[in-house]
Symmetry: D2
Subunit: 415 residues, 4 copies
């Protein structure tokens, strides 16, 4: 019996099966990419060809039509078992297109400018034809998520964007950057915006300097925008800077939950590896694998952590699907979005902390062998640690946010 | 928005609403019963009258017809918010009748003796008329769950039962005891059995000596059986002693999960109390309740723990409902029952450990006031600690069991 | 071999031996006092008669002459094994007199008014004759340690004190209250003061309303001061309100460390009780007590926690003895006092958190038996939880304080 | 004020100062050696020249004469701040020579054969002249410490040794291997032995295959002994296989404690790095470094962990110095040695677990920057994880051992 997470929609089934296939495929090279600090361009080529990357594009535009956040989580969870680096990149890309598809389902009145609708459909279609890879370029040095310093200065027919972004997962493969920007508002509080910046835009530089403890094949280097012109339809406003507005909460909460699924996948892989190793050792020896109580104990603790992590991710995904779909987010009041985000961040903290604990115990249970570079556990130990740094919210801020929502704090302008 | 667990069946809705009503009612006296170490007979009277105690009796026999384990968990979860002691007693009673009702859904051939079927229907009907309160009398001193020393010696027309049971929650109110016994098997390994022993049977003594750190109103004292005659139809065999057999796993796993729901309820209550207190303090003062980062942090950690606990209990309950119902347990192979039990024990450990942590943090967040006897938190702190001692499996054994199942140990004869 | 903490001075040997004697004596009644919520006046009578309560009074004034903080910690540690409630009271009393004795060692110029010196000598002599029991009356509702609302309004020949104090451990036996007060300073920032208020002062009411989860025999109820006149020499200024000044840091850091010793003692007692019980069970049965891996594991974890707790308390006590003695605190710059306080709070957090963990594991290892009221573990479980609420700093603030000192924050006026 | 561990003997002062010097020197290349997976031969050359490697050789034989285990711990602690890989190698080398020097202090009668004494003096003198580097070659695959499969078959004038050892820290620089072997004893239980095998012995192969998650510059690869002849005087018997005998406990407990000091050093370094980085960030910005409560909190938790770790290591070292010196170990009964080993393992677990926690928190406090390869924290995170695998006892067995000693288990033949 297997208690892993499973799809809840037909489109999700196709997506999940594809995820399993890619997962097995990417697993064979994950250690090498890690060791050589290489961005696995061929993984992205493979996901482009298979249609994996257009899973969240509506069927009528040529995609797989996955709408359920739950199934997006599940597919990324499966993929991460084979290659965490590729999975977090794929998570960001597919969540971005899930969001764009969701925008398109809004009443036309809510979308405003017709050019925007046309642009949206165009990029979704291009994604369905395997022509687009999105990179979410949000992080900067020394600021928080909602207060970018990257400036989108209005100019004729659009904006001129200048700034430097870090931790741009996926940037080597990206054809377009979804970047947070600050739109000056005269004397008023500046506006937070999200710009789609095609890679070929003059002034874009992908630095490709990613060299980190883990997630080494994720290509999470810096991207520089130097006076990049972007047409008006490609910049979406997202409320005042410094606030988690109703505009950006649905995207950020979905993104956070999908990423939590990736870290669960890494933990599941670690547990699977060590249980298999113990069983092989068992088969080769006299005694049973569960004879050493210390080993049995932590394998048991891992199962409990995995059960809780799966359950909280799945329940929260169902919650989001109920409340955010269909086309519903303008109708969800801000306070309720914060309540949902509180649940997402709770799931996020549970899943990421327990993923770290599970991989750590798997390492312990391996005896010294998991500490060797030749053992994939030594990679998983490094990869899984990335989760707690991710925005919003890192481990330093998440419980403060959750606690404030629970205590009824007015979160409007303060985040 | 509330993320509490909710019913999934119509009968469950009625059960849950009744649970909420009783919970509010019992909450008003819980502290007094605790302080005076009194068994709250009037709570049981109230649950008898309302039909709460016959919730799991089939409708055609006069009960409420709750079949979903999920909804049994939810109702007990709600009840425990008001009074943990009464909730764990009600959990054991309703689970016992859930199990008896489930037995009745088996193909008659599987039930054997017609007298047994008649007896079952009789006790279920009597329960529906509010005439039965069951007490699960399992624990003994110095033995494990599956190896009782209480002896059921076969005699004419039945058995003669002698033994001493401890931690018999609910015994002051009980009209019948569901007791584990050892049936001698000649030279063979003895058989584990479960006997229904009516309270009026000569030789039954309810010692009523319960005086403990917490769960003081649960009446969990000793019960002595001194040569009690029980007719044959009231003793069910449950496989060889020392093993968790296919006969007893469905009952024990359901019981364990329902009890986990009770501990979640205690934790929810503690979090609710301290958030309310902080809000009142807030209303009475200048600053917001979330101003002190240490307080906000642990309120946030509690939310995450509650989210995980709710999710893992709910997901596991759905799993059990899928696999154990309807009438299906003879069809579930033993190995799969152990897999399910592994998930139940995982949920159990997560829920109980996090309930203890949540109440502890609530106490910390209360400042010194939660340490005073006048504050219900000081009772919850004692009540919630009971969970880890419960069988099967206590905190000392649960991860060993889970780990052994995961590692593929042959658990047939060894537990 | 025993690795418990031992005295480092000859006077400390006498103190420690007396502590062991009283510990054994008080252990016999601790459970009864807890159950009946009685303040053990006879324990205090016994400590008065034996000279235990004048241990920190200089020899030349008739006391035992214990100067080493280390040995004060050790004696209280031993006492707490027998009765935690009495130990925390004795800790506060003896630390208060340790501090008064220390004041007397200052150069006369630093002490100012001759009347103050005369008063000091008088109260120390009276303590040596067994005529004084001090109660530290610091806590108030809704304020922090350094910002009392109790007012000491200057009047002719002294002050008029009005306020209500909570958690006044020891108040039923007290003959004098050491109380924090606020001395108005005109338009300036008010001054924090410490007043010695004799119990017989008109306006003093000992409410004796202590009823709590644990430490039930500590008599930690409320004390009310209603326009109590106190002569000038009995009020010592302690710097501006809201700050931990150089005046009050030596007393508060010593007090905190001595109390940490008490919680270590409770943990040692719990570990001793459960190891003895397991050994008895072992003697009565076939198998060895360490046969169950879960039990052995947590007994081992407890030993490690106890070793760390003993070591950090002992090392920190030696540090304080080196830096605060003799007569030295005016010479220690404020920044260094904060560094020392950081170490004390570190020891404090380690000792209190691990004491809670140790008692909790002892309870688990006991099986269900530790949960019964008849088992002293059930009292220790409640007593040990008091530590985290104590000032300065409770668990909510301690790491913030430690972190701020380490990060070089200017703590002068901000606490 | 600095609360780091300091020397307690004059020779220890010289050793510690040298350690500080080497630490600063090695720190400049540690990241490069890690990245390039290089064994730092020049570090060893430098320690050879400075006399660091002969610190534990008696003065009369040309060494520094450090006898205090406490100071051996302190020097290695300091060295590890600069380079953990070199420190664990130096720990093993200096502990080995500490032990040989200790053997020489025994009464000649206890040492037996005069050739053995001559051999001992010779190797100690050679070490003092910088001609010897020892490698402790103990670990094998699939066996425990006390049950080597490497065979020392008696032959004329000595033994023929054959076996394969893993995790041989320091092997690239070693001139001699201290290896555990099994000496056949006819029908009796085999004897555990320790052989000194010069590197130039025919049949010795240093495989140099070390490639691991961390401690990459420690050269901990495999060493193969293929029918190596070793003269009789270089093989010391150590009691029956499978037991921790009185012969080997003093060496193993000292070795374990010295290594614990190394992991403390790594943790101190991590805390220092992140506090410095936060201060620099502070200096470059408006706000204070302690403004973010999440950061301040975990910096505070780290201080508490470091305080406990320093204290328990220091107190345990003093304990060992008191009981094992001088020349005393034959006089210490086996049961007492196990008591001491229990304390060492307690210190070991506290120090290693808290070192891992401290580095982890430092990483969290760094924000994303500590996750980058360019930040030494990312190396420390990998290095510090090695501690829990080390023998005896790894994290899987340590608490079982401690618990068994505390519960009075007869450990003679069973380990």
């Amino acid at each position: 019996m297997d208690f892993e997470l499973g799809h809840i929609s037909p489109a999700g089934m196709q997506f999940t099966e594809l995820a399993d296939k890619h997962s097995a495929e990417f697993a064979t090279t994950a250690d090498r990419h890690d060791r050589e600090n290489i961005f696995p361009m061929q993984n992205w080529e493979s996901m482009r060809r298979s249609g994996f990357l257009s899973a969240t594009v509506p069927e009528e535009l040529g995609g797989m039509g996955v709408r359920a956040i739950h199934d997006l989580v599940v597919a990324i969870n499966r993929l991460a078992r084979g290659d965490g680096s590729t999975a977090i990149g794929a998570a960001m890309h597919t969540t971005a297109f899930w969001y764009l598809a969701k925008l398109l389902r809004r009443p036309p009145a809510a979308l405003g400018d017709q050019r925007f609708i046309v642009g949206l459909r165009l990029i979704l279609r291009r994604c369905a034809r395997g022509r687009v890879v999105a990179c979410v370029a949000i992080s900067e040095q020394g600021t928080s998520l909602g207060e970018p310093r990257a400036l989108a200065a209005p100019e004729r027919d659009g904006y001129r964007i200048t700034g430097r972004k870090y931790f741009c997962t996926n940037s080597p493969a990206a054809t377009v950057f979804l970047s947070s920007v600050r739109i000056p508002a005269g004397g008023e509080r500046d506006t937070l915006g999200f710009a789609l910046i095609p890679r070929e835009t003059p002034g874009v530089t992908v630095v490709a300097d990613w060299d980190a403890l883990g997630m080494r094949a994720s290509g999470s280097g810096a991207v520089v925008f130097d006076s990049c012109h972007v047409p008006e339809g490609l910049v979406m406003p997202g409320g005042p800077v410094g606030a988690l507005s109703a505009e950006i909460l649905p995207l950020t909460m979905t993104g956070a939950l999908v990423l939590a699924g990736a870290f669960l996948g890494i933990a599941e892989r670690a547990q699977g590896l060590v249980v298999d190793a113990l069983s092989r050792r068992h088969a080769a020896s006299a005694g049973p694998p569960y004879a050493r109580p210390g080993v049995t104990e932590i394998i048991g603790e891992n199962e409990a952590d995995l059960a809780a992590s799966r359950a909280v991710i799945s329940r929260t995904a169902v919650l989001l699907d109920e409340h955010l779909d269909p086309a519903g987010e303008p109708a969800v009041p801000l306070a309720e979005l914060h309540e949902l985000m509180k649940e997402v961040q709770s799931a996020n903290m549970v899943a990421k902390h327990s993923a770290i604990a599970v991989v750590d115990r798997a390492l312990t249970a391996s005896g010294g062998s998991g500490y060797l570079t030749s053992n994939p556990l030594s990679r998983l130990y490094r990869d899984v640690r990335a989760g707690l740094f991710m925005q919003p919210f890192s481990a330093l801020d998440a419980f403060q946010y959750i606690g404030r929502v629970r205590l009824g704090a007015d979160l409007g302008p303060d985040l």
